[in-house]
Subunit: 406 residues, 2 copies
């Protein structure tokens, strides 16, 4: 007998029929002798509907109140799932964030979980109930309702799984696992049976939308086994776990492509100590996250400084940089949002030499020009022209042999 945490996303509870399906899946897990804590998102579309109402009333709606507003979505789906289970004679109980004691900081709309007091959860499980926890929401120390940001229900589920020491945290979603590349782009993409936290973290950061990044961080910290799988099939999905020997044999685990990136170049910057800090500090103050940074060799005491930002932050980045250029007496500011960042991720890159150079060669062979490069221990990313996005993913995917069964 094991303890399962099962998280069901918005599409999985998107209609009354789908809620009945979820109830059937929970019933099956119980029939196999296991305890279940289910964590649910709002019915698909509901969060956006509620956000829309708030934004219609105010250009900058009060964040505390937006959290109260949107957290009602998970309240509805949690209650509906509990009603469905009870109608089938399965004792169930919904718990909101304030009842399950999902404690967070006070950063409304993007709060971080600080603690899950597990007594109430254990008590309900001990009474033989299925517990349905409203995902995405918590309360701060003063009892205000908070939400965890988009995809926050993943993080709710992992935090709860860590608190109750669940045997596994199943993330039910509308895809059946983690793929070596986006199957829409790369027909030979393959579902991976297992992937490490570190690789999943890089993939999530690079735009693979299967799991919220923070949920993976939390799972890694507390060694929570995550099973990403489809709520529409019984097929095994992808296990996200700590490293083991079998994982080490894979050099590259996946290829991703981030299309929401843009390049900013500040020309003819003085090559003096403190100048670079003078550029990036004001950007940080304006809450612009800078991703890649390239500084060319200086010629005649001047250099070009290029960096990339998310397209969401581009307008702010442009304003800040243009103001700086005027102030510092540097050259013009060039903007290019016709770029993408293509990346390969794999634990094996740590111990295998020549992986990055193989990536560059594969791209060069197709005539793809590389505009910038960043690397981490288990990742290499290249900024390339947007028109090459799909071609680059396919070339890298097949060049590293990801389409083959291992």
């Amino acid at each position: 007998m094991a303890l399962f945490v099962q998280k069901y996303g918005g599409t999985s509870v998107g209609s009354l029929d789908r809620i009945r399906n979820v109830a059937a899946r929970i019933a099956k897990t119980r029939a196999e002798g296991h305890d279940v804590i289910a964590v649910v998102s709002a019915m698909s579309g509901e969060t956006d509907r509620l956000l829309g109402l708030g934004r219609e009333l105010s250009e900058r709606p009060a964040e505390r109140e937006m959290d109260v507003l949107v957290s009602s979505g998970e309240q509805v789906s949690a209650a509906l799932l509990a009603i469905t289970l009870e109608a089938q004679g399965i004792p169930a109980q919904s718990l909101m964030g304030h009842q399950a004691r999902i404690m967070t900081d006070s950063a409304h709309t993007k709060a971080r979980i600080t603690r899950v007091a597990d007594e109430r959860l254990r008590e309900a499980i001990g009474e033989g109930r299925v517990v349905i926890v409203a995902g995405f929401q918590g309360i701060d120390a003063a009892g205000n309702i908070t939400t965890l940001g988009r995809g926050g229900s993943d993080t709710s589920a992992v935090a709860i799984a860590a608190a109750v020491r669940a045997d596994v945290c199943e993330i039910y979603t509308d895809v059946d696992g983690v793929y070596t590349a986006d199957p829409n782009v790369c027909p030979s993409a393959r579902k991976v049976a297992q992937i490490s936290y570190e690789e999943m973290l890089e993939l999530a950061s690079l735009g693979a939308k299967v799991l919220q990044i923070r949920s993976v961080e939390l799972a890694m910290k507390y060694a929570v086994k995550i099973h990403v799988r489809s709520s529409f099939s019984d097929a095994e999905g992808t296990m996200v776990t700590g490293e083991d020997e079998s994982l080490e044999s894979v050099v590259v685990a996946g290829v991703t492509c981030d299309k929401k990136t843009a390049k900013v170049t500040l020309r003819m910057v003085k090559d003096e100590p403190g100048v670079v800090a003078g550029v990036f500090e004001p950007l940080a103050e304006q809450n612009v996250s800078v991703d890649m940074i390239i500084q060319n060799v200086a010629i005649d005491g001047r250099t070009d400084l290029t960096f990339t930002v998310s397209q969401d932050d581009l307008a702010r980045a442009k304003d800040v940089t243009e103001a700086l250029a005027a102030k510092m007496g540097s050259g013009e500011v060039l903007i290019d949002d016709d770029v993408v960042k293509v990346s390969i991720v794999g634990l094996g890159m740590r111990s295998h030499a020549g992986v990055a150079s193989k990536m560059f060669r594969l791209l060069a062979k197709e005539g793809v020009n590389i505009q910038a490069i960043t690397t981490s221990e288990i990742k290499t990313s290249c900024l390339i022209g947007a028109k090459y996005a799909e071609l680059a993913v396919r070339v890298l995917h097949d060049g590293f042999g990801l389409g083959q069964e291992i």
Copy 2:
């Protein structure tokens, strides 16, 4: 400077435009130098929509979960109103039942408020905020979400007004006050400026749907002044308060008609001690509330026993009574739901003789047969044929001079 509790019903917050109107009214009250605690219902139609979802999933949905489900409606309207006020620069804060500490018993779907811990309310008011409390909801001692039954937001508002010792509890609704009779039936019906708790209680019990009965009981107990008024006009409504001399002069304050009544007759019952108890105990066990009871004089040791019940309970009452008839060897069971109960209510009836007999005479003059009578200290009710309902209301209204300005 006074402290106002203002309750806004479902139609008053039924759309974003109406929520803006409510915000404007609150802003006006504040501009006059007063503090405001607003209590809101769910947007009109929302509670029914949520109930419908729950009932689609289960014939007898778990009541604890139905409370979780429907209480989300008030959460949404409270947040939207707070967002609107904050957008206008008026500091506001929504509080759910668990945050405002509206403590109730554990009778899900019809819980009773046991206590309002007013610290959080006073704290927010002390910070210069408008406090928006989600009506209709509370929590029990174990932290479960409860709801107070239809019209429960009235009770929330009065309980909060009592706890914070508000100067007045304004109930904003879609009518502009309490009338001497239903204006749709009786064109000469007149809005009353003032009415006593006792009279309001009788009127509410008799089917006037302006206020939830429990809210009036609570207001009477804690001497909370209620001002029933329209959210669509600035006209003064009706003050519901304790008695004073001016009220004593009114003999009859209002006429009501309850159409949701039905008559059950059990024929040829043995006229023996214990027989009547033997009929009404099983009815009470089946949760059937019996209203009027008439027992005829016995002939040959047998009598007919007639009683009235709400039409909602009629099916159950019929089953119970027919089973009893078979068991007791009494005669047939007659059902008549083609009846209404017309009532006159007034504090003055205590000190004025002949009011009831004047009522009977007024009805007789129009050829209306009286099938049953009940009286209380400040009320007389007659059961009559349904076809006479409107005629009886008009005759009594005008016969007691209610259409005249006083």
